[in-house]
Symmetry: C2
Subunit: 493 residues, 2 copies
């Protein structure tokens, strides 16, 4: 048997490729952010829903890139068919929070209130090639209203999104919720006499507006143009008259919602669906106004194109407008942190009935990165007060000291490694990010006092001080045992 044992190599202590661990402040910062968002959602009448990580492949559906293998894009496996046990079903990890919502909305349609407002926060999994900053497990944070046909539901979600961004610390003026409507685009297509067969092509060119500008899009919609490399890009082949409504749509953003809506009404011309879309946007603008959400927070903006192909009615996007430095040190706007819109067919796959739904998804990692870039998150990485151990036999005294600090609400711990080398204890305190170390040798215990070492001040002094100054140890104070809690509280303030 010894031979067998030798053959067994030690397992590698590694996460699977594309997965990672989150330590300490990484966990608490995200949690704090999500808690604040949840409080806003809750106040708006949304209920939490937590579905399991595992769904049947059948229920999840294939919303991810469609290929032959059932496990492309998702992590999937087949259960063994065991009597009374495994069913032989294909199971998979959820790849988003919308597919499980669809299943829940269908499964519990007789029990859930209609409309059903729910929020969900949690990890999702993608079986994709991992890359830098791209992981195969990541958080999503969604809020959706299922069963409400009125655009009041969309307006409410836009207002709630603005509230949520402010709740996590994004100042008013540092973000904008931009709102568009797929129906307006459909109206523009009608006005431009573009059929369904070419709508996708037109949408693709519209999406380049930010990069190539008005004239660039005009060329791409008509005869084509040379790109920067000199290569010729074929146009969609519209006539200039056909392209006109599309360009009018793209450049319809005015100084006010009213002006934008006027421009959009002109762009959709006689299209009924287009007029309906503009009316919906007008309703949303009025509802936002009634909810006290001004145009400085949420605005009608026809340049929101992302998602127009997927959604069926209003679409929205939250953008952070403050600037950060990119990898190359150039200033750029932080950009989009949330998006959503109205979609049909959520429950239809299961029941055959169309159920109107609208929702938003916040990019958890992106928003957290924004908070860190603004210095809103990331500051509270303070470790516990570390009670050092000078005398192994007096562990009870040290634990009593820590217990006293904790009773006063102060995060505190006793050093529990080998106490022989005192330098190691201070290194440990440093590694823990401890703001304060407590030291009590036999002599001090006899006198009823302790040394309180201000490690933050100590680190500052160490950076600048001369050897003499350093030796005088201004960051270390002797206090009576009874005064310990007050002294530590003073330092932590």
């Amino acid at each position: 048997m010894a031979k067998d044992k030798k053959k067994q190599p030690r397992p590698k202590a590694e996460t699977p490729k594309g997965f990672r661990d989150y330590f300490g402040a990484d966990v608490t910062e995200r949690k704090t952010m999500l808690d604040r968002i949840a409080a806003i959602y809750h106040r708006h009448g949304f209920d939490p829903l937590e579905t399991s990580a595992v769904e049947t492949v059948e229920a999840l559906g294939k919303f991810l890139p469609d290929v032959d293998r059932p496990n492309a894009g998702v992590f999937a496996w087949q259960e063994e068919a065991v009597p009374g046990g495994g069913s032989g079903d294909w199971l998979a990890l959820r790849y988003d929070l919308t597919a499980p919502l669809a299943r829940v909305a269908a499964q519990f349609r007789n029990d859930l209130p209609t409309p059903y407002r729910r929020y969900a926060m949690g990890p999702v999994w993608r079986n994709e090639k991992p890359g830098p900053g791209r992981f195969r497990q990541f958080y999503q944070c969604d809020a959706d209203t299922v069963g409400a046909a009125s655009v009041a539901a969309d307006a409410e979600i836009c207002a709630m999104l603005a509230d949520a961004l402010e709740a996590v610390g994004i100042a008013r003026g540092d973000y904008i919720v931009r709102i568009n409507n797929r129906k307006v685009l459909n109206g523009v297509m009608e006005a431009a006499q573009v059929g369904a067969d070419r709508a996708e092509d037109v949408l693709r060119q519209i999406d380049k507006f930010d990069k190539v500008g008005r004239d660039g899009v005009l060329a791409l919609l008509t005869q084509g143009r040379k790109d920067d490399s000199g290569a010729f890009i074929d146009g969609v082949g519209l006539t200039p008259a056909q392209a006109a409504p599309v360009l009018a749509f793209l450049t319809s953003k005015g100084d006010s919602n009213a002006a934008t809506l006027d421009n959009l009404r002109a762009a959709v011309g006689a299209s009924a669906i287009g007029a309906e879309g503009v009316d919906e946007l007008a309703d949303i603008a009025a509802l936002l106004d009634a909810m006290g959400v001004g145009a400085d927070r949420a605005v009608i903006d026809p340049s929101v194109v992302r998602g127009l192909g997927y959604y069926t009615g209003p679409v929205f996007e939250a953008e952070l407008t403050f600037e950060i430095l990119d990898d190359k040190g150039r200033k750029r706007q932080f950009g989009s942190v949330a998006g959503g819109g109205r979609y049909d067919g959520l429950v239809e796959r299961f029941t055959g009935q169309k159920v109107p739904a609208t929702g938003v998804s916040i990019g958890v990692d992106r928003l957290l990165a924004a908070l860190r870039a603004k210095g809103i998150a990331g500051a509270e990485a303070r470790g516990p007060v570390v009670v050092t151990v000078m005398d192994r036999d007096r562990m009870s005294d040290y634990q009593a000291i820590a217990a006293d600090l904790r009773a006063a609400g102060i995060r505190a711990e006793v050093y529990l490694g080998n106490p022989k080398n005192f330098g190691n204890q201070l290194k440990y305190a440093d590694k823990r990010g401890a703001p304060v170390a407590i030291i009590q040798g036999a002599d001090e215990a006899e006198r009823g006092v302790l040394q309180v070492k201000d490690l933050i001040l100590g680190a500052k002094i160490a950076e600048h001080a001369s050897h003499e100054e350093w030796k005088s140890q201004p960051a270390q104070t002797e206090v009576a045992r009874a005064d310990l809690v007050a002294e530590v509280q003073r330092i932590l303030q």
Copy 2:
């Protein structure tokens, strides 16, 4: 293609067998409980750790029942080996939070502080036959200290466990943390001259102490006994002299920790490992005392046997001592809600080095059930104030009303379903658990007033009132628009 479409049946809207969804209060009650526990862990210097749900089968190891198939007990699948993509590795969902901790402690051993105190909370998955109340995904909530050989780490975890139980609402006196030590048992085995080959058998009989009592265990340790059905159960075959230390161990619980420790010292006789075990328990008792945790909260108790086979040193268990009614209406103690102890070999599989570790796991679902049984959780299932829609064209007014309530911190929503049938709106408010409904028709709007309907009072009246009383609607009040928030706040108090 139409034929293909027909062949595709509608997917079933169902969770996989053994999985479930958590709605509303189910989610928030668990979250509130875990948040309170996390705050206690954090104050004790423990850091959160969130590992991914997916690990390699190799890293997870086979701590679950060992069989030939790699996916027995766990949900596992093999990645496709794709250049630049899947590695061909077997991946699996974590089945507990300890195996990932072992991997992390090995992977980051040069970066983590030593000792490393961490807590983790999250779902784990078991590929087991589901049963009533037994799900294949459930929460665990663990705290462990890795790299601390001192029993001060064990004492600290016991004290922290007591604090955590009080933090979630279990009153002092309604729980007890009971502490034992595997080394004492080993000492008893030495004193009884029981070799390693029969230790497991003896342990199994000891475990029956609660059921069969002192004489029953004596018989089972020696020649065997008839059970209730008349069947003869073979004994382990010890002599009465050999069985004596075992029985002394089992009945060593005294009126105080000191008395118990004296009895244990007698039970282990001349065994060195036994004496070490008793000394450790004495240290733990002294440390708990120093931390202000009296014997009413944590106590040395040799009857803690569960886990003795698995752990290598101190073991502990938290029991809720209040009575509940079981399925048959009989009173019984609620029982165990947490357990843990000291174990070696956590990191050894990966590095070859023994690293001492100790930890506790709280049974999340059991503790939550206990809180519900005590009426501590489960009360806060109050829905939002529902603003009803009398006039579809005045949606902005209704949204403004809801926004005003929310601005005052009141959970509120506008009814977003089809407003045609007012009865449906009140049914919706009922389904939502709404405490208040707001009603404003055109007439009321003109007069600048609203109807505030106290649905809780209304429900009470409806239970008892005569038709006349009911018609007088004492639960409905007309208030001026400006007084709305104050009136709703009055009702919600």
